[in-house]
Amino acid sequence: MHLSSIACRSLTLSTQPTPDIPAVDAPVSDESRVYRLIPVSNCKAVDGEWEFQSGAFDNASPMHEKECPHDMSVVLSDSLEALSRVPHRLPANSLVCAADPDAWGVAALDVGFLRHEESQDILRTPNDDEPAHGDVRGKKAPKCRRRMKKNATWVVQPSVQPE
């Protein structure tokens, strides 16, 4: 399962929910954060550092019409904390990054910003591979992606060095 680009999770919770994490229908507070896995292909190298670009905050483009085209795959901070996990370990622990975890970083966005300034819904969409999985649902026009880029911060940059 590819974490960075999972579309609307219609197949949520095929296993029993982990009791410690918030229920699927529990609200996500404005104070929570979402973590977005970002590959270096969505980053520009600037002065030896990786700088994510607007396309890093793009919705998935599912092939099937039944799937929602307005979801951006993320990991929810409150669920992650409940599982006693830390965001900077996400590249090493996520299947999507398994081929080359050094080429992935993690950026954070505030739920309050997404909800109130960008009119996005934050959904809990756990799946077999990531029980803390969520989706940021809503249309993301280029200007919206650009604002997300400006508001996001690195939790951990990709560890591979820019050339």
Binding site: A7, S41, Q53, G55, D58, S61, V96, A99, K143
Partner: protein, 163 residues
């Protein structure tokens, strides 16, 4: 997948076959040409190299991210051929989940994002100078880009970086 190569000393071309169309795979080609047979400008080779990189198998590893859309590439290259001067700095190029591509330039207080995204009809150019920002549909992007192109030239960028 897009196959690319240096066609001759004054052009770089590539062609693509769409596996979905087989066995009637239609080869399509785009060529970047230097003005009136002149050598290609400095930005041409990095642009082609980057698009080739984004079209590689590794870059396609994100689920629900579509392969690069040939028409978006053609649109982007047509834009570059029209608006770039011979000494304009090469853009950073990124992929969108739709198969579209984004071109970005950033120097000092100038930022440009040009989005080519036919699938979502989201083509747009955003030019920011300091706190001011302008946006135009991508089919009307040329004049907006022209307003900042001189400040994105390699000599200008190098001169102001040294100042």
């Amino acid at each position: 997948m897009i196959g690319m190569g240096i066609a001759d000393s004054s052009s770089i071309g590539w062609e693509t076959t769409d596996p979905c169309d087989e066995p009637q795979a239609e080869k399509r080609a785009i060529r970047l040409r230097g003005p009136r047979g002149a050598p290609l400008p400095g930005w041409a080779a990095p642009v082609v190299t980057r698009i080739r990189e984004l079209d590689s198998a590794a870059a396609l590893s994100q689920r629900d991210w579509r392969p690069i859309n040939f028409d978006d590439v053609a649109d982007a290259l047509g834009f570059l051929e029209r608006v770039m001067h011979i000494d304009t700095s090469a853009p950073w190029i990124g992929r969108l989940s739709s198969g579209g591509i984004e071109l970005t330039w950033k120097h000092a207080d100038i930022e440009v994002e040009a989005i080519f995204d036919r699938l979502r009809a989201d083509g747009v150019i955003i030019v920011a100078v300091g706190e001011h920002e302008w946006e135009e549909p991508i089919d009307k992007a040329d004049s907006l880009f022209a307003s900042v192109v001189d400040r994105l030239s390699v000599p200008y960028v190098e001169h102001t970086a040294d100042a």
